[in-house]
Symmetry: C2
Subunit: 181 residues, 2 copies
């Protein structure tokens, strides 16, 4: 059996709630989802075409004037495929943190470089954490349906782990400054 293309599931998950264009899908992925998954035009558009031939989604032309616009709709087969994936036990969870990679190899550099890289990371995380907290507050005032609960849980995952990262940053910086070479 061919390996499952994850972008397909992201798209099906989004189309489960509403009809969207490829461009809309990209915007949704760039929102809260981007904290734990990415997508690009380079895989969204091919996936849309492919899933249409596999009858998991249907397209309808909703062009306005000269502006081309193709809106996609999930089929029953598409909903089935999504549910099957949700029920599979396998889930691949991966970190790809270049900051940690650089830190690991900092023996080839200096304490100063290592500290600098951690400070950059800290800055990145603080910015993202602020954003997540805004999402969280908005959700708390508007937890009206099941989907909001799942959304809320992913946001709190982000907040909790980012807060742990920041605590680690403080510890790590202290160690790098104290333990004289």
């Amino acid at each position: 059996m061919a390996r499952e293309k994850k972008i397909d599931m992201v798209i099906l998950g989004l189309l489960f709630h509403e009809d969207l264009t490829g461009y809309d899908i990209k915007k949704r992925i760039d929102g809260a989802i981007s904290f734990f998954w990415k997508g690009s035009f380079g895989n969204i558009y091919p996936s849309l075409k492919d899933m249409q031939t596999r009858k998991l989604i249907q397209s309808s032309d909703t062009s306005v004037g000269g502006r081309e616009k193709i809106t996609y709709h999930i089929t029953e087969e598409g909903k089935e495929a999504l549910k099957e994936w949700l029920n599979e036990d396998l889930a691949i969870n991966e970190l790809r943190y270049e900051t940690l990679l650089k830190l690991f190899f900092s023996g080839a550099g200096s304490r100063k470089t290592a500290l600098h890289n951690i400070e950059n990371f800290e800055k990145q995380i603080k910015t993202d954490l602020e954003l997540l907290k805004v999402y969280c507050k908005n959700l708390e005032n508007n937890m009206k349906n099941e989907d909001h609960l799942y959304y809320y849980l992913t946001v709190t995952f982000g907040i909790d782990s980012y807060e742990a990262y920041l605590k680690w940053c403080t510890k790590a910086k202290k160690m790098l400054r104290l333990e004289a070479r």
Copy 2:
């Protein structure tokens, strides 16, 4: 300027300390590094050939009997390239957590499925956390050089964040069980 191939930096980082074969490199990457970065034969071997033509590394044939074996050694240019990368401010840090993706789309499934996916995640994390703690204990008894300090910091990053994940799992499971549909 061509985009930087990250696998090159991983290999240079490893070769900075010792000469290695492609197979050795794969084994190193599959160790502690695998918690924050991955590598496969499919990009290790091509990278080795490419970096050799770019004079960042040198190869020497160390075959034993009929067994082919090519050992690589970092050059001064290679060391320079590694240091340059360490000194670049840019670092791409990405999470790719299929568990969170499934949780986010659990509206298409059920509370039961969502809970099941979190329990699977919890199991995965607990196993990995145990391993990280072993690494940590070994390091604490053997913190003799600068490299061990950097290694130790990446390991504590893993431990701290995984512990935060587990706390989140407990909270999330409670919410999913309490908040009746």
